[in-house]
Amino acid sequence: MTEADCVECGAEVSLHDDLEVGEIIDCGTCGAELEVIDVNPPVLDRAPELEEDWGE
């Protein structure tokens, strides 16, 4: 397993091995949706925000 830093909160995000460019993962600390920009070495960026409805 490799790791990369979350661009939102700076926490380490553990990444599975068969990571693919374009994949979206969430940061376990801050919950940010992160897009895999590159895989070797892994680079993450904030995924385009889906304006999600959240009740009320």
């Binding site: 409805d53 959240w54 009740g55 009320e56």
Partner: protein
């Protein structure tokens, strides 16, 4: 002579309240309630309290001619259909945000723009406590947002009495019930996920800030929490005025503003269980409660305000405004006192 009224969006939460209020109103007869999803079904199949009402939902594309049309649709619908609404009725009362603000630019900033900005100038804000004089004869009335209404009602007397001028720092911390989200609702408003919560649902940037700024001229630091009740909005305003203010000053200010208001109650201390405004003390009614306390150590005033979001915060306010606009008794159709005890109404 009874006026005919219709409700567009009659299957929703505030639409149901409008139907309840209008069908018990001495001056109105409800002739139409629209719903696309429940077209053809009885009103009582959606609103169980209205099982006695002999009325079925019909499609909103085919609007009856009425004296007054009430629209209780999501933001954006009324601005698209305002011409049809105006064709169908002499007076339109809209519960959405579509006609509350006066400038197109505000809709650009806070919403997704506006499709008929020419109506913004002519529409009147419904809240009689701040706009009574402009309502008589109005033909487009925009009921306020519930959190904005609670906040404005709480703070307005401080402006009337020159305790605030608009430059002061004010934090508004709001607590609201689940009906504010309207019927339907996704996972976050399912019972297991939503019960028992204190959930920051609008930490910053809530759209009602625009409305408060429009009507009080005050920029507020606004945060909204969802709590475990169905009806109710409670605003706690933490206010930092320039000079010292006594509790007597506050009583003077609030009495001056609200003493003659038929739906405003002041509650600020005393004995018993209910010593400050509480949403459950007004639930189901059109009353608003305001109260306050002074905190000299922190040079702070704390103002509490409580309403039923679907009554004073929307449907009740709309009917109140219509009463004023049409020259009816202000309290007509709005005389329900609320209940005690009541759980989480």
């Amino acid at each position: 002579m009874t006026l005919e009224a219709s409700v567009v969006g009659g299957s929703g939460f505030t639409g149901g309240e409008l139907l309840r209020l209008l069908s018990g109103h001495p001056e109105f007869a409800v002739t139409q309630a629209t719903s696309r999803s429940y077209d053809g079904k009885t009103v009582g199949s959606v609103h169980p309290n209205l099982r006695g009402l002999d009325l079925r939902f019909s499609d909103p594309t085919d609007l009856d001619s009425v004296d007054v049309l009430f629209a209780a649709t999501p933001h954006g619908v009324s601005m698209e259909q305002i011409d049809e609404f105006e064709d169908a009725a002499d007076t339109v009362v809209d519960l959405s945000a579509d006609f509350r603000l006066s400038q197109e630019s505000q809709y650009d900033e806070w919403y997704d723009g506006h499709v008929c900005p020419e109506y913004l100038e002519k529409s009147e804000y419904a809240l009689p406590e701040i706009n009574r004089e402009n309502l008589p004869g109005a033909d487009l009335i925009a009921a306020g947002g519930c959190n904005a209404t609670a906040t404005i009602l709480g703070l307005k007397p401080l402006f009337d009495a020159d305790i605030l001028s608009g430059d002061e720092q004010v934090v508004v911390d709001v607590k609201v019930g689940s009906s504010e989200g309207g019927a339907g609702g996704g996972e976050a408003s399912s019972h297991p996920e939503r019960s028992g919560i204190v959930r920051p649902y609008a930490p910053t940037g809530h759209r009602h800030e625009a409305e408060i700024e429009e009507f009080l001229g005050l920029s507020v630091s606004f945060t909204v929490h969802a709590v475990d009740m169905t009806r109710g909005a409670a605003a706690t305003c933490h206010v930092f005025p320039d000079g010292p203010v006594s509790k007597g000053d506050l009583w003077g200010a609030y009495r001056e503003s609200y003493e003659d208001e038929p739906f405003m109650r002041m509650v600020a201390g005393g004995s018993g269980v209910y010593r400050y405004p509480e949403p459950k003390a007004v639930a189901g009614s059109n009353f608003g409660e305001v109260g306050f306390e002074v905190d000299p150590g922190n040079k702070r005033l704390v103002v509490f305000s409580a309403i039923d979001n679907m009554m004073k915060g929307s449907a009740g306010q709309a009917v109140h405004a219509a009463n004023v606009a049409l020259g009816f008794e202000e309290t007509a159709g709005l005389d329900f006192a609320g209940l005690h005890p009541v759980g989480a109404p």
